[in-house]
Symmetry: C2
Subunit: 335 residues, 2 copies
């Protein structure tokens, strides 16, 4: 029964703890999807190394943080397979084969990579592993026969690149060994940071983490960007670009209340401090059980390792099977 479920491949780079942006953008969705799909969550440490190659410690130390985050939000290892990319040799092996099927100029034309190269200011020295990471990503997706891949729309070129490789491999093999995959677009816009300017990003140190304590949640909400022209309570306020309302939209369970608050704020008579209090309460309630669970988990590293080990063992079976199908399809030798 479970065997016939559609395969979903998703994951994160272990470069820091997960935060509310991840919660809204993907974690919540995964908790739901694991009931209907066969979901694999790949901790993409190899991919994280493509721009942290000289600092592997940063990547390694965050692997168990991710496992703890996943479990704390309700991802169930009996339903989802949590696994570690660097412990799955078949992914590297598939990457080696796929690298021969993609031209360097095609990689440079990938819009996602292009933007990332610009924003990361590698200058003239883009690491070869970074330029080629879409190929490694194609190996990930195809190794798990991922049919659905949850992505933001900035990641669509990755699916396109993957499907190009799928078609090439299947043409060489003369049969459909690999599956083309489809994007599963998230309906949540990317969460902005409290300052309202940037996206929430580990590297910008502007995150509300899933393990955040009460004080730092309150501080983050207090500092949130609202309507700078909304000086007196009785003045009408603007909700566009008002981060407090953006967060209420995403996180508050009572949508009617949020609707009424917006009306009142726009009419005049609703203080920023009051709206912030409501958001603070909401976020405290949301994060508290996650934090408690997470604290428990992070103190039992052996258990986290065991869960990761079991998921990785299962993933090794699946990915080796695909690798061996591809090698057989290519007519390569089995010694």
């Amino acid at each position: 029964m479970l065997q016939n479920r559609q395969q979903i491949l998703t994951g994160d780079r272990p470069t820091g703890c997960l935060h509310l942006g991840h919660y809204a953008g993907s974690l919540q969705q995964r908790v739901v999807l694991q009931n209907e799909y066969s979901q694999t969550i790949l901790i993409a440490d190899l991919q994280a190394l493509t721009d942290n190659g000289f600092n592997p410690g940063k990547v390694s130390e965050n692997v168990l943080n991710l496992v703890a985050d996943y479990l704390a939000v309700g991802i169930d290892p009996r339903k989802s397979t949590i696994c570690l990319q660097s412990a799955l040799p078949a992914l590297s092996e598939l990457t080696m084969y796929y690298l021969n099927l993609v031209s360097v100029s095609r990689l440079y034309r990938n819009p996602t990579v292009k933007n990332e190269i610009e924003s990361k200011s590698f200058g003239g020295s883009v690491p070869a592993g970074f330029l080629t990471y879409p190929v490694s990503q194609a190996a990930d997706i195809t190794a798990f026969k991922g049919e659905l891949v949850p992505v933001g729309d900035d990641q669509l070129p990755m699916i396109e690149q993957t499907n190009e490789i799928v078609r090439k491999v299947n043409r060489i093999c003369g049969k459909a060994i690999l599956l083309e995959s489809k994007p599963l677009l998230s309906n949540v816009p990317r969460l902005k940071a409290p300052d309202g300017k940037n996206k929430m990003s580990k590297s910008m140190n502007n995150c509300i983490f899933l393990g955040a304590d009460e004080k730092s949640i309150s501080a983050a909400v207090k500092s949130m960007y609202t309507d700078p022209l909304h000086i007196r309570v009785e003045d009408p306020g603007c909700i566009e670009g008002n981060i407090v309302f953006e967060y209420l939209d995403v996180f508050h369970p009572d949508k009617q209340l949020v609707f009424r608050l917006k009306e009142q704020y726009q009419t005049g008579g609703l203080a920023d401090s009051k709206v912030k209090n409501i958001l603070n309460e909401c976020l405290q309630e949301l994060i508290k059980p996650i934090r408690i669970k997470r604290d428990e988990l992070i103190n039992d590293k052996a258990e986290l390792l065991s869960i990761l080990g079991q998921g990785t063992a299962k993933a090794n079976e699946i990915t080796y099977k695909t690798l061996s199908e591809v090698k057989q399809g290519f007519g390569l030798m089995n010694v």
Copy 2:
């Protein structure tokens, strides 16, 4: 005792049977080296795929040809480890780590790759696997802790690239996990084809193969380029660029005889046909036992596979050990 021998890594791309050019340039040397060194001979099918990615069958079908060629010339699997690159996952895994430590522009500056890209006329579509193959080669050399790598001088940039990676990895790990390697330059100039214009090359169909039959050896010698101005026997002839003498220099065991023949040819009075007869006899004698042995071997595929399997198993132990040292040095997780 054997453990302390210096490590040599060498190998070939399985894109065709081996020929006299390989015999003179590397095989003969390997037969000697295996008595003094710990020699690994890697059948580089992954590397062969970097410019045959869409035609993997061509690569696969030549793997056992290479094993037969090796054994036929006297490479002893009890002394040399013969192994298959694609069956050594640690090599792909190391490649993934090293790709992050080398910039794309550094790869484009590699003179060997630059020349090969030009000569192979990939045009705008150099496969990513081809551009990055020096990194994969660095993985091969370092995984076996190769201290000596027999190369032609056109391959020196590969050793340089490898040693750059070695230094980077050791710096990240804070200790000397990998070894720098040294080239072992061959003293035999690259053997020209019988036409005297090109090098002997599988792709140009101008080879004298190690399995060549009597007739094709004779035909190749008969067609050999000599001195086109040496019309009458009594005329003085020129030995520079005279392929028959180049081959005699390389292959004839009696160096004094060759010296006398040269003198006589330059003075006048020695017919091309006579020199060619001497060369033909010499090559027939050289190739006959190789051909007989090779014919026997190629009919026992199970035995060839078993030898390759045993060598590959041994190589897997060695390469996994290096991989695990590098991963530990990087502080990566072991799940």
